[in-house]
């Protein structure tokens, strides 16, 4: 799981062009939206694409995103349970 979390942080930084943020700057429990990484609604859509492209997970209900994308912890747990690749 720790490896998945590190991989996930790297992919998020790359996909969302978080220029001044390194993997070490993101704590597993940091909120991704709001006061955490400060991601916006377009970033949320990019995360949905990332889940599909990298892990074969299709989120059909956008409302699911709110709980899944709370933090690296919640994202990694969902991916570990639902990934198809």
């Amino acid at each position: 799981m720790a490896e998945l979390k590190e991989e996930l942080k790297g992919k998020i930084i790359e996909v969302l062009n978080l220029e001044d943020i390194a993997v070490a700057d993101i704590a597993d429990s940091d909120p991704l939206f709001g006061e955490g990484l400060g991601l916006d609604s377009i970033d949320a859509l990019e995360l949905i694409v990332l889940m599909d492209k990298e892990y074969g997970i299709k989120l059909s209900d956008p409302k699911q995103g709110k709980s899944i994308f709370q933090s690296i912890d919640t994202m990694a747990a969902y991916i570990a349970e639902n990934r198809t690749k």
């Binding site: 969302l16 062009n17 978080l18 220029e19 377009i42 990019e46 599909d52």
Partner: protein, 199 residues
């Protein structure tokens, strides 16, 4: 009532350098626009991470505006911009992402920039502008159109000042010539003087 209008300040971004009113402000040996723009923007504003998420056209417009608007009042500042390629550089990128049916992953962050006037929106967001804006697409800078629309905005009281100019980006070739038009100054806002900015 505004009667005379003037070109108050000019910023030119081309060939990896930034010049404001003939004063060189930044230059770099980096040949890629992404690296050049990153360094140039960080020099003037290290606190705006949204810049790095923009497409190249918006980066060019926001970068030139950042240097142009440094120390300038921005209340009732309208935008009148133009270019040749629209958002084609990003359109091509988006097209590539939807070309392969097996690898069909269009990027929302790319798609939102498939309109040329988004770069005017990015300038507005950066500086908190809620003012008139227009974006024209033409082979060359439409001097008379931009001039007459700018005059209309100022003389009708719809704006106190207008940020005008050319922001062109396609396949790493770029050129930005932005200028502020206002009722103050010495360089008259004439077609002839605008033409000189592009020489």
């Amino acid at each position: 009532m505004v009667e005379e209008t003037y070109i108050e300040k000019v910023c030119i971004v081309r060939a990896n350098s930034i010049v404001v009113d003939t004063v060189p402000r930044f230059s770099s040996d980096d040949s890629l626009f992404a690296e050049f723009s990153k360094q140039a923007f960080r020099q003037i504003n290290p606190e705006y991470p949204k810049f790095f998420k923009m497409d190249s056209l918006s980066k060019l417009a926001v970068l030139a505006a950042e240097y142009l608007l440094e120390g300038q009042p921005i209340d009732d500042l309208a935008l009148v911009l133009a270019n040749r390629s629209g958002s084609l550089d990003t359109d091509v990128r988006h097209q590539e992402s939807i070309q392969n049916e097996q690898e069909y992953y269009p990027s929302p962050a790319t798609f939102v920039y498939t309109l040329a006037n988004i770069c005017a929106g990015e300038i507005s967001i950066r500086h908190g502008l809620q003012t008139e804006n227009a974006f024209f697409i033409a082979e060359d800078y439409p001097i008379n159109t931009a001039r007459s629309y700018t005059e209309y905005l100022l003389k009708s009281g719809k704006a106190k000042r207008v940020l005008c100019g050319w922001v062109e980006f396609f396949e790493e070739k770029y050129d930005a010539v932005l200028y502020i038009v206002s009722p103050k100054g010495t360089n008259k806002h004439s077609a002839e003087n605008i033409k000189k900015l592009f020489e």
